[in-house]
Symmetry: C2
Amino acid sequence: MTDATEAHQTGPLTGLRIVEFGHFIAAPFATRVLGDLGAEIIKIEPPSGDPVRSWGEQLDGKSLWWSSHARNKKSVCLNLKDPAAREIALGLVAKCDAVIENFRPGQMEKFGLGPDDLASVKPGCILVRISGFGQTGPRAMEPSFGMIGEALGGIRHLTGHPPDVSDLPPVRTGVSLGDTVAGLYGAIGLLAALHEQKGLTLPQDTPVRIVDVALTESVLSLLEGVLPEYGALGKIRRPEGARLPAAAPSSAYACADGSFILIGANSDPLFAQLMRVMARDALIDDPRFIDNPSRVANIDAIDDEISSWTKSREPEALLAELQAAGIPSSKIYTAADIVADPQYQARGAVQAVRDPVLGQDILQPAPVPRFHGENPEGIAWPGPAIGEHTEPVLKGLLNLSDEDYRHLKDSGTIGSA
Amino acid sequence: MTDATEAHQTGPLTGLRIVEFGHFIAAPFATRVLGDLGAEIIKIEPPSGDPVRSWGEQLDGKSLWWSSHARNKKSVCLNLKDPAAREIALGLVAKCDAVIENFRPGQMEKFGLGPDDLASVKPGCILVRISGFGQTGPRAMEPSFGMIGEALGGIRHLTGHPPDVSDLPPVRTGVSLGDTVAGLYGAIGLLAALHEQKGLTLPQDTPVRIVDVALTESVLSLLEGVLPEYGALGKIRRPEGARLPAAAPSSAYACADGSFILIGANSDPLFAQLMRVMARDALIDDPRFIDNPSRVANIDAIDDEISSWTKSREPEALLAELQAAGIPSSKIYTAADIVADPQYQARGAVQAVRDPVLGQDILQPAPVPRFHGENPEGIAWPGPAIGEHTEPVLKGLLNLSDEDYRHLKDSGTIGSA
C-alpha cells in the first residue's frame, strides 16, 4: 500500500465523494475526469480486477494504460457476490455524493444495489448509469460493444474513404470513442444532478435520481447536420475520407517520403496564398477554383494540383514554407511528436507520473480542463493495485475495527493489495 | 419573433443562466448540452450571425444544422465593436452564473470583456475559455482549426489503414470531433467551477475563475494507452484500419452487395461460435487461432476466412444468422438506418422539432444524458433567428425602456429579428 490516501487531490471538486461501480472504459473514464478535478473516487473492484488491467501493452504484468486510466482513484476490493460485501458497499454509498456504474442494465439490481437499495441508505442518491443502449427500450439489456455502438451512432459510416476512391471499409476512430464520449456525458450528468440538489433538504423517501447515458445516443449527439439534413432533404451524408466535405482545399497530402501533411486553404485568400506558394498563380483566377462552391465542384482537380506539388518535397520543407506564408498546415502527430512538441511542453500537457508498481515515471495526458493557476498537474497518484485502498477506506469511512477487517478479509468478502 | 422566451426549459439546470460569446462549434456545442439540461443560454451574436448559420445544407437560406446546434438558446444581437454594446454585454454578465467563449485568445480583451472587466461587474465570475491551443504557451494566440487540432491531439494518426494495406491518407473522423469534445470538457469545467463556488459569498475583489480548455489537449485526453506505452516502451501505436488492435477477429467485412458489416468475435467462445456459423468447425482447434494472441498474430488469415464467407452473402441474411448465434454484429448505420431503428424509436432518440423559420419539423438528436422520467424531449425551440431574443432579454433582464431600446436599435448597437 502506498501513501496514496494521504495525498490530497486539489481542484474545484475537492470534497466531492463518488463511488464507482465501473469496469472497462465508460464509467472509469468519467471518474478519471472527475478525479482529475479533485473529486474523491472510490472504485469498487472485484477480486479479479477491472479487465482494463490486462489491456494493451504490459510492463511487469501491469497495463501501462491502467496507470493513467485509474489515476487518482481509490481501489476498494469487494466480492459483490457475497452479501456481506453488499452491506459494505451500501455503507460507502451512504457516505458519498453520487454513484456511477456501467454494468449491463439489471446487474446492479442483481447485486442488491438497485435504485431502491441505494435510496434506502441515501435518499435522493444520484445514480449515473452508462450502458450501450440506455436503460429502456427493447435492446436495453443487451451487452454493449463499443465498435457496435459507434456504428449504430452513425460515426463509423463517416470515417471512410468515398466509394469512388477506395473499396476499403471505414476505419475505427482508433480509440474507444463511444465509451469516452459517454463517459464525458456521464460526468456532465452527475454534476448537473448535483447542481439540481444544491441547497435542498431531501426527505427520507426521496427516490434515486437516475442519469441515463446511452453509448449509442452519445455518439449520435456528435453528428452535426446529419439528422436535420436527412429529415428535410433526404440527404445521406457519405464518408469523405481525408477531406472536409463542404470546403476546399482541405485535406491530407502525400509528401516525397510517403508521409502526409494537412493543408487547410479553404478560403479565397488562403487558396490564393497557397497557389502563390506553389508558384501556380495562374490558378487563382481559374474559373474552376474561383470560389468555394467552384472548388468543391472541382475538388479532385485542385487536390491533384496540390498533391503533385507536395509529392516531390519533404514534409519539413513544405511545412516551413506553408507556415511562413500563414497557411494552416500540420504534420499528423504520433506519440513521439506529441511528447516533443513545444506548445505541449510549455503547458505541461504531458505529465511524467511516478508509478510505484511499475517503478518508473509513466507519461500521461494532463487533466482537462485547466483551472487557472492551481494544481497544474492534478495527478496525485497513478492507477492503484487491486484493493490498494480497501483498508484505509473501510477503517476510515466505515469505522471498521481491526478485528472485523481481518474477519472480512479471511472470509474473502474483501481483498487488499 | 416566436414565443420562444415564454417556453420554459425544464431539467436539472433550470435556473442557471449562462452568457455565451461563442461562434462556430466548440462553445456553442457546450451551451447546446447545457441548454438541453435546462440552463438558460443567452447567446451574444454579431449582426452578421454565427458562421455556422451558413454551413452545410440550407433550406430557404437557413442552415439545417443550425436548427439543432442553436436550439434552446436565446439570440441577443450585439455589435461588440460599439462601446454601448459592451455596456449591455457587461449588464448581462452581471446577471448570469457563468460565461463561456471560444474566441481566439486576446479577442475578448479587445472587446473590453476580458477577465478584469467581467470581474468588475461580477466578482468571481466563471469564465470558460475554449481555444485551439489553450490560453498559454507559444502558440496560444494562433487561430484554431479543428482538423489541425485533431492531428496534433494524435487521433488523426490512428484513423487510417495500416501502411501495408493502403497508401491512402488517414481520414477525418467525419465530424468536428476536437471541437465537440472540447465543448463537452467546457461544460464539465463550467459545472465543476459552479460546484466549487456553492454556498460561498465571494468578496467584491474576487478575480474571475478561468476554466482553460484546449482543443488539442481535449483530443489528447482520449488516447488511452498511447502516451504511457510510448513513454515506457517507445512504442508508437500505428493505425489499424477497421480492426481492433489487440483482439481478433473484430472488424468490418465486405458483403456480396459491397456494403460492410461489423463482426466482433474476439473471445474464444465467440470465435468458436462464429466458426460453427461459418461451417468451418475445423478452424476452432487450428493452432493459428487457438487463443487471442494466436489470432492477433494470424489476423490476416482469420480475416480472410471470414471475408470469403461474408463476400458471397447479403448483409441481411448474414446479420440474421450472426444474431441468432449470439455473435456481436451490426450494420454500419447511415442517417436512414438511425431514423428507422426500433431502439432509437422506443427511446425517442430522434426528435422531430417544429422549426417556425423552416416551416417544418426538423429531425434532431435527443438530449444526452436523460434525466429519468422528466422532459424526455428537452427541446423547447430550434435555433433562433439572429437577435430573435434581443428585445425580450434586454427589456426583461436589464429593464431597458422602449425608448432606449429603439435608440440602440436605430444606432446599430443592437439588432433584432
